[in-house]
Amino acid sequence: MIKNLTCICCPIGCTLTAELEADKISSISGNKCKRGIQYAQEELFNPVRILTTTIFIPEKNTMLPVRSDKPLPKDKMCGCVSFIKTIKVDLPIKMGQILVNNIEGTAIIASCDMK
């Protein structure tokens, strides 16, 4: 069986062609770099995404942009967004600071400084 997919690792968006035999990938083509191969493998069996969302900071009356450190399962994204809303964060915050650990196998980190 042949599956076509668009790689989302970078803005180029290579069109990948994956050949599947008995639920296993036998070959991948169309990728301009190695990351496309890993992407195809994950996307076909366990699609993951980097999650980016926001957390409210009451003292600044503004939202703090946050991200998942590593990709997490695509179908868990919405649930994670809901959970992340409940996290309380204390100022000051540094970019990269871990706000909560171990959400679906990754940490949620701050995307910028906030004083």
């Binding site: 668009t6 790689c7 989302i8 699609p47 980016t52 969302t53 503004t62 991200r67 695509k74 994204m77």
Partner: protein, 413 residues
Amino acid sequence: MQKVDVLVIGAGPAGTAAAIAAKEAGAKEVLIVERGDRIGGILNQCIHNGFGLQLFGEELTGPEYAQRYADKTENAGIEVLLQTIVLKIEKDRSVLLQNTTGIFQVSCGSVIVATGCRERPRGAINIPGSRPSGIFSAGTAQKLVNIKGYMPGKNVVILGSGDIGLIMARRMTLEGARVLAVCEIMPYSSGLKRNIVQCLESFDIPLHLSTTVTKILGKERVERVEISAVDSSFKPIDGTQRIIECDTLLLSVGLIPENELLDGLDIEMDTTTGGAIVNDKMETSAQGIFACGNCLHVHDLADYASLEAEIAGKNAALFTLEKRNHTTEIPFLAGFGITGIVPQKVSLDALKNGVVISLRVKQPFENSRVIIKNENKVIKEVREQHFLPGEMIRFTLKADNAEILIAEVIKND
């Protein structure tokens, strides 16, 4: 009156990069003026990742990219005036500023305009219908969601499948809204393919190509929109109208470079880019006034806006320090299929060392290549699988000499 060597207007990815480059090129007093309450410009609300791949080899979120430049700006000893706007740039490069302390003037050795762009509103494309609340440009919705934490709607239709529209389709969905459709008037999306996948397909949001919104309905708040298929001249096809019940319409129908500050300075403008005509130093036709970033021409990648801004910054500093050479400039003209060439003028000494050129095709081309000619002689070819108007073509052009440069599309035989 305060005197600065280089004034940069805007602290987005272009403005900050320009200021840092100006400092590195020897300018002593570099001042950035920014109307927002933090450095970063539009990147502060672009919380998604996809930035920095070209510059840092990493996939950063917009705020992360902005933070890196904010840190570099601070470390470089560049002064930043936040929540300050420029009222006017005078011909002698004195600039009128305003903030809550008052109105004051700054005299500048050189000025770099990095004011970004604004979104095309509903009124500019005249979508018929009523004028209820619930119609937002995608960027305004993005600001409400990502900076203020307010949801602008629950059942959303998006017009425009450029990246901003696609990104907002995903963002609204993640925050609990239902995005019912993304409509695109062209027969193809101008957004990155990866965004079609990760923003629409991943959430089962339908994309209707060759479709536009032909009416907005609702007395007080949006209640429904009428969408129609369009023909090859983008005219709605009678009989294809259908109604989508919704409470929100997001518009992602084009970005317009923001160049109001250049009015009254008699600066030559390019109608194909919406920005100023510049030479390879990013200098406009007004001496000492430079332009870079989205106000010069709309970029697809922030990385390239920053790289371009470095050229503006360096040359603005050299201008102030009076370290510039003047050499002959030749025009760079758009031939068949090409538009939006930047820079529009190239100096011969820079051409010897290589000049970064950006341009776009006017329509999609398959099985073709872009050629650059010096009069009749082809001096460079750019080959790709296909060329799309939504994807800026960027390359370095090098030549020992030239009279006149022309870029055009020709079919591969």
